[in-house]
């Protein structure tokens, strides 16, 4: 993008917006805040390097997720979007417990209603079969936030509405 309408990045950086500007497709001039926030958190040169390392068809999603992370970090300078992850991990743990309780109740009901037909109830504890999602999730655990200090959960719980947004297309 060149000529009369430099992209938001080149406007902020006060430079000429070249025809092949890597930022231009993702930081239009009508939304200066979007670039301002990623520049504040990551820096323009880091963003540029990250985008250059990605195929073109993935850059839009990468920018969206970077904007999300940058917003989270500005909103919460301590926990950033890790606060959201911690909150969601706690939700997963609570729901898994609820599911386990509900399934145990079903088994009890079945045993009570058909005591002769049903074998002894065995609640699988090894994650076999299609209940493997009940176990600890397979997400990379760089460090176990769910059992981390209560501070993480306490702070992140204050920001419920932030997690309802759509992340990337």
């Amino acid at each position: 993008m060149g000529g009369n309408s430099p992209c938001a990045s080149c406007k902020l950086l006060r430079r000429r917006c070249a025809k092949g500007c890597i930022f231009a497709p993702y930081f239009p001039p009508d939304d200066p805040h979007r670039f301002a926030i990623v520049h504040k958190v990551f820096g323009a040169s880091n963003i540029s390097k990250m985008l250059q390392e990605l195929p073109v068809h993935q850059r839009a999603d990468a920018v969206s997720s970077l904007v999300y992370e940058a917003n989270a970090r500005v909103r919460d300078p301590v926990y950033g979007c890790v606060g959201a992850i911690s909150y969601l991990q706690n939700q997963v743990a609570q729901l898994q417990m609820q599911l386990a309780v509900a399934q145990a109740e079903i088994l009890c009901i079945q045993v009570q209603q058909e005591p002769l037909a049903m074998p002894s109830p065995v609640i699988p504890m090894d994650g076999s079969g299609d209940k493997s999602f009940l176990l600890h999730n397979n997400l990379p655990q760089y460090f176990n936030l769910a059992s981390n200090s209560s501070n993480v959960t306490h702070e992140s719980l204050k920001r419920e509405s932030f997690y309802g947004q759509d992340m990337v297309s």
Binding site: E69, R73, G80, Q91
Partner: protein
């Protein structure tokens, strides 16, 4: 700090590590890769600014979270932490569906059982018939509460 005990940040940046180096407590030389990721994604000067903006007693947590985000972004250059958030949301949705399905089965069992074995008429204490209805209400109220959050 002498040149023999520089923090990972100062070692990587090939500079002297001063006594009051703000990065030293959170990027020890024993884990150089952590700072490499953080520097690649955020840059040393941005991390320094971020830590300076945070009160001292919260800097360790902030450094942990910044490192977490940087490592997540190195592992997944397109989505970073947002990919983890999306996965967790999908997992929550999946477990929630399972819970609803299980509750449906429970209600079906109760109904089938009631049809074949009508309950005895309560003798002045109808609380037992209310408790099942109340349970169902409690479950759906908690589900609404969860759904609202997402």
């Amino acid at each position: 700090m002498s040149s023999f005990s520089r923090c990972a940040a100062c070692k990587y940046l090939r500079r002297k590590c001063p006594q009051d180096c703000i990065l030293a407590p959170y990027f020890p030389s024993s884990n150089p890769q952590r700072f490499v990721c953080v520097h690649k994604i955020f840059g040393a000067s941005n991390v320094t600014k971020m830590l300076q903006q945070v009160p001292g007693h919260l800097r360790a947590e902030a450094a942990e979270c910044i490192s977490y985000e940087a490592i997540a972004r190195v592992q997944d250059p397109v989505y970073g932490c947002v990919g983890i958030i999306t996965q967790l949301q999908q997992q929550i949705s999946q477990i929630h569906s399972e819970i609803m399905k299980t509750k449906g089965e429970m209600i079906a069992h109760h109904c089938a059982h009631s049809q074949h074995h009508p309950p005895p008429q309560p003798q002045g204490d109808p609380s037992w018939s209310i408790s099942l209805h109340q349970q169902q209400q409690d479950y759906s109220q908690s589900d609404e509460h969860l759904l609202r959050k997402y």
